[in-house]
């Protein structure tokens, strides 16, 4: 049951990640921060908002602000009919949905495979990435929620 303990205490040597795919790249979100996974439906556009704001939607009576992660990461738009998913998270008491392409599995990764951001990583990515995990045959970038919102909310508030 050591894995459960780890989950509960947010163990130091291994963390569980929910993996998602955005534009072909694998990303991981710490599972403790993911509230739910849903299909974003009837999203209301918010004019004048930052480009990455996909809109607002009603998720079981709560208003969720949807953020298009492709736009956030400056990736090309997905096909119009492409399936999308969203990961529900909370930030400072507010609900957000990160719109991504697909949700993968839950991985337990130990700190051994963790590495800091490579120095040549695209600045816009490095800004929201909390490091990289070396997996078999691919790399998983850790999405750092705090930095993600820090980078988005503050410059906008200033604008």
């Amino acid at each position: 049951m050591s894995s459960n303990d780890n989950l509960a205490t947010g163990a130091e040597d291994s963390i569980q990640y929910v993996t998602v795919v955005i534009g072909g790249q694998l990303f991981g979100l710490p599972i403790s921060q993911v509230h739910d996974v849903f299909v974003p439906d009837s999203v209301t556009r918010v004019p004048l908002a930052a480009p990455e704001v996909a809109g607002v939607l009603n998720l079981r009576g709560r208003i969720v602000t949807a953020i298009d992660m492709r736009k956030r990461l400056h990736l090309p738009d997905r096909d119009e009919n492409a399936q999308v998913m969203a990961v529900g998270i909370e930030h400072k008491g507010e609900s957000y949905g990160l719109v991504i392409d697909t949700v993968g599995e839950v991985l337990r990764l130990s700190m051994d495979s963790h590495e800091p951001n490579p120095s040549n990583l695209d600045k816009r990515w490095a800004e929201i990435s909390g490091g990289v995990h070396r997996l078999d045959g691919k790399l998983m970038i850790i999405l750092d929620i705090k930095r993600l919102f820090g980078a988005m909310v503050e410059p906008m508030a200033a604008a």
Binding site: P47, A49, A50, V53, L57, I63, V153, M156
Partner: protein
């Protein structure tokens, strides 16, 4: 902190607030034993409780104050000094209580000996004045009070609306303390009303009648009231504000869910749910109303501190002030109440400090010495209106003007054209205070703008009316509640938006061929609505859609116009469709979206979709920058545009193109036109051989461009209105064609009176009219009025400008101001005139001239000792810091923009008033 203590703090704070109010009242009617008894009792209760809880410092202070009041009760004369001292003591008690609260129950260190000894001194001196018998009684006062009070308490127990079961009271009973608690005579109503102040627990009242001023009742009657009162108090309980808030949230959710259900049932015709749902809907509505009621509090709660503040101000400023309060029982949401408290206090201070004059000044103008501030509140529609009125001096327009200029909020030219009302509005600008002296009361420059912000934050508006010498009044209009608003659901650019009903005045359906169609002045869409032009903006445009798309949408010109009013601004927002109105619960937007001023929040509609709520204030400010409200500010804009254009491209000017009399287009510089108006033909009257219309309370003569010109026989007659120094002339035109910006080049001069010449405008030969010819037709003495003072008449001014247009435009302007003007077209010619011995008192010179430009001209003048001190004024289309500096170096006395006519006149005036001796 234990419950007992927190209960004590809450209660004592309430009592003290009541004491504050009562004392001020008492000072005014020292013979009213009722009030005194009430105060006495409250202070006594505080003292007693302090002793019980082991708070010696508080007890000693309360005791000393009580002793002094005991003297009053025994007939000692009430002095202002004594009342002030008691008030100070009350303040000290409050301070100690505040510390007590933060310290969690321990009395703060410190001594109140200063106050106590002062109180005792007054008590003693009061005693010497009292009768011997009373003296004896009073001497025994402190010891006896406990006993004496037992009888009195029955007559005057505590306030209504309190739970008899509360801990402290029980504690008292158990301790066999003398205070028989919960009930209070109705005579205490005014005080009671002011009770539920800041501390969180909120008393829910069982609808006990409250009056702003309760009539004093006989003792027997009061006793009766007590008996009935006890039953009232047991019907009300204290509920924590949090509980109510939570209840409110839940009801909001319920309303939303109900809406959702209704939406579903609407789609299924014969649903068996229909009937029960209808019932659910009704119950929900009632529940919502009920919960809202629990949140309602009389506005008097926000007013309770004001009498004390006014009293203190009155003493500090040495002005007798009377505060009248009307409608204190008007109820509004407590959330709103909290938010309105500070602005109100600020406004009262303002009125007392700036509004009311000193007694001597008041006497001088025949007003009673005592100034009156009236505070009134009443319901109107879904709003509550609060008015703060004083009978003081009103707002000094001139002072506001000079302050506006000083702060650079507007130019003199702009101010010139504003109405007094518009100028008054400047006091709502940030950092604006007209008080010359910064006093402790006001004048620190944070003021009305903060008030306005606070009011607007809660979706309200503030307005101001002021009559010089008679006082001013501020009118605040705020919604009753913030939680649930009625909104109009509209569609624009394929999305739905909610517009709060409160700001929607009406809906207008537009169709291409109907009475209401969208017209354009330049590219600005406007709508004729009941003889007024309403500036329009398309919602999609406001929301950032591409302008060309919007324009093509506007081309189709079908849709709805939501006429909105925000403050004094009225405008139309074009939307593609209007659905229905719906009660919505405003939910805050996430912080990522909070920077969008166009939205105030979002909500979930009945069909489950999220919808953005439009913020009317955001739209209004966007209107100001996006579109231009053509009519009201047309002229001001004209000037701005003209200047801007002049800076960009030399002498390109905004011209108003119109047709009159003949089919050739005619033009007049837009900056000269005050207003475009349309009058019903039936409104045009004929008198004394000429046509007139009533315009703004005066008769305005109409002038025709050509003798044979006929006006329309039906419908409305368009005209250009020119105003100057309070007089207006209407120039009758057939049609207003366009506003263009173009280089103005009069190529062919004209011999015909009234026409300056012809210029090519928009690739068409256009006659430029000479206003100087028409103005005297309306008023023969147009150029010989007011501004023409005798001194100016004797002043000869030389105008040097190579452009015939400007010579022709400025000559009448200068003549109108009373100067004797000679115009010449080059510096060369000017030198000739000067050499010929013509004397001039000032020279106004253009800068951009061929051969010798203005700078060179001025430098040459300055080299000649005869003209070294001659005032020379530069006139230029290019106004930049660099060019102004260049002008200064060349020796110009002043530098004025070509289109700034008032600036030119003012500058000349200054020059002559300052340098009369030299120039003459």
């Amino acid at each position: 902190m234990d419950d007992l203590l927190s209960e004590f703090l809450t209660e004592t704070n309430e009592s003290l607030d009541v004491v504050d109010v009562e004392l001020v009242k008492f000072e005014q009617e020292p013979n009213n034993a009722k009030i005194l008894d009430n105060i006495f009792r409250l202070v006594h209760t505080i003292k007693g409780t302090c002793g019980f809880l082991g708070l010696p410092r508080l007890e000693a202070l309360a005791h000393a104050a009580e002793t002094l009041m005991g003297k009053f009760r025994d007939g000692a004369p009430v002095t202002q000094e004594a009342v002030s001292l008691i008030l100070i003591s009350i303040d000290r008690i409050k301070e100690i209580l505040a510390d007590l609260e933060t310290a969690g129950g321990a009395e703060p260190e410190g001594s109140d000996d200063d106050l106590i000894s002062e109180l005792e001194r007054l008590s003693l001196s009061a005693r010497t004045g009292a009768e011997a018998e009373a003296e004896a009684e009073a001497a025994a006062g402190p010891d006896v009070t406990t006993g004496a009070l037992v009888e009195q308490v029955l007559e005057r127990p505590l306030r209504p609306g309190e739970v008899s079961l509360d801990d402290l009271e029980r504690a008292f009973r158990e301790a066999e303390c003398e205070v028989e608690l919960p009930v209070e005579a109705a005579t205490n109503a005014p005080a009671a009303e002011a009770q539920e102040d800041a501390p969180p627990p909120l008393t829910v009242k069982a609808g006990a009648a409250r009056k702003a001023t309760a009539e004093p009742k006989g003792p027997e009657k009061a006793e009766k009231e007590n008996k009935s009162g006890s039953s009232v108090s047991s019907q009300s309980i204290r509920v924590a504000v949090e509980t109510l808030e939570h209840l409110m949230t839940m009801v909001s959710e319920l309303v939303l869910t109900r809406n959702q259900l209704l939406e579903i049932v609407r789609r299924h015709e014969d649903s068996e749910f229909k009937v029960p749902l209808q019932r659910l809907s009704n119950v929900t509505a009632e529940l919502q109303e009920g919960v809202m009621k629990t949140r309602m509090q009389p506005i008097g709660n926000a007013w309770q501190k004001l009498p004390r503040i006014v009293r203190d101000l009155s003493q500090e400023l040495d002005k007798p002030i009377e505060l009248e309060m009307v409608g204190a029982e008007t109820e509004l949401d407590r959330q709103v109440l909290e938010l309105i408290k500070d602005p109100l206090t600020h406004m009262i201070r303002n009125s007392a400090d700036h509004g009311l004059e000193m007694p001597s000044d008041r006497r001088a103008v025949g007003k009673p010495e005592k100034g009156t501030i009236t505070l009134s509140a009443y319901h109107e529609g879904g709003h509550i209106i609060i008015e703060v009125k004083d009978d003081g001096r009103g707002i000094d327009v001139e002072r506001v003007k000079s302050k506006v200029l000083e702060r650079g909020l507007a130019s003199e030219a702009e101010l010139e054209k504003m109405t007094d009302q518009q100028i008054h509005k400047f006091i709502f600008h940030a950092g604006f205070s007209t008080a010359t002296n910064v006093t402790s009361v006001s004048g620190r420059g944070v003021g009305m703008d903060v008030v306005r912000n606070n009011v607007e934050l809660i979706g309200g508006s503030i307005d101001l009316r002021s009559t010089a010498g008679q006082g001013s009044s501020f009118i605040i209009k705020i919604p009753l509640t913030l939680a649930i608003v009625s909104a109009l659901i509209v569609e624009a650019g394929g999305d739905r938006y909610a517009i709060p009903q409160l700001s929607v005045v009406e809906l207008v359906r537009v169709q291409n061929n109907s009475e209401h169609r969208i017209e354009r002045i330049k590219d600005t869409p406007v709508l004729r609505l009941r003889n007024k032009l309403l500036p329009l903006v398309h919602m999609s445009y406001l929301l950032g859609a591409d302008e060309t798309d919007v324009n093509s949408e506007l081309e189709s010109d079908t849709g709805f116009i939501v006429v909105m009013q925000v403050g004094n601004q009225t405008f139309g927002v074009v939307v593609d469709g209007v659905f229905h109105t719906e009660e919505i619960v405003v939910k805050p937007m996430s912080s990522m979206l909070r920077n969008l001023t166009m939205f105030s929040g979002n909500t979930i509609l009945g069909d489950g979709a999220v919808i953005m709520i439009i913020d009317p204030n955001g739209v209004a400010s966007a209107m100001a920058s996006h579109a231009s409200s053509v009519v009201a500010e047309g002229e001001r804009k004209g000037v701005e545009e003209a200047i801007a254009a002049a800076i960009d491209g030399q002498s390109s000017v905004s011209m108003l193109l119109f047709r009159a009399g003949s089919s050739e287009p005619k033009a007049v510089p837009l900056s000269l036109v005050t207003r475009l108006e349309e009058f019903e033909v039936s409104k045009i009257e004929h008198s004394n051989g000429r046509d007139l219309v009533q315009y703004r309370g005066a008769l305005m003569p109409l002038v025709y461009i050509e003798p044979g010109q006929t006006r329309r026989s039906e419908g409305t007659q368009p005209m250009l209105v020119f105003s100057d120094a309070g007089r207006s002339m209407g120039l009758v035109v057939d049609e207003i064609v366009d506003i263009v910006e173009d280089r103005m080049n009069i190529e062919v001069g004209s011999d015909r009176a009234g026409i300056l010449g012809s210029a090519v405008i928009k690739e068409k030969a256009t006659e430029v009219i000479d206003l100087g010819y028409y103005l005297p037709q309306a008023f023969e003495d147009w150029f010989m009025r007011k501004e023409m003072d005798i001194a100016a008449l004797t002043k000869k001014v030389l105008l040097v400008d190579d452009s015939a247009f400007f010579r022709n435009m400025l000559t009448p302007v200068l003549k109108a101001a009373g100067y004797d003007v000679t115009a010449c077209q080059s510096a060369q010619q000017a030198f000739e005139l000067l050499e010929n011995g013509d004397t001039f008192h000032a020279i106004v010179s253009d800068i951009e001239m061929p051969d010798i430009n203005g700078f060179e001209f001025c430098e040459a003048l300055r080299r000649d000792p005869r003209f070294r001190k001659l005032p020379v004024l530069a006139l230029s289309a290019v106004v930049s810091p660099a060019s102004i500096e260049r002008g200064r170096q060349a020796g110009f006395d002043d530098y004025v923009a070509k289109f700034d006519r008032p600036g030119l006149i003012a500058s000349l005036k200054d020059m002559f008033s300052g340098e009369l001796g030299i120039a003459a």
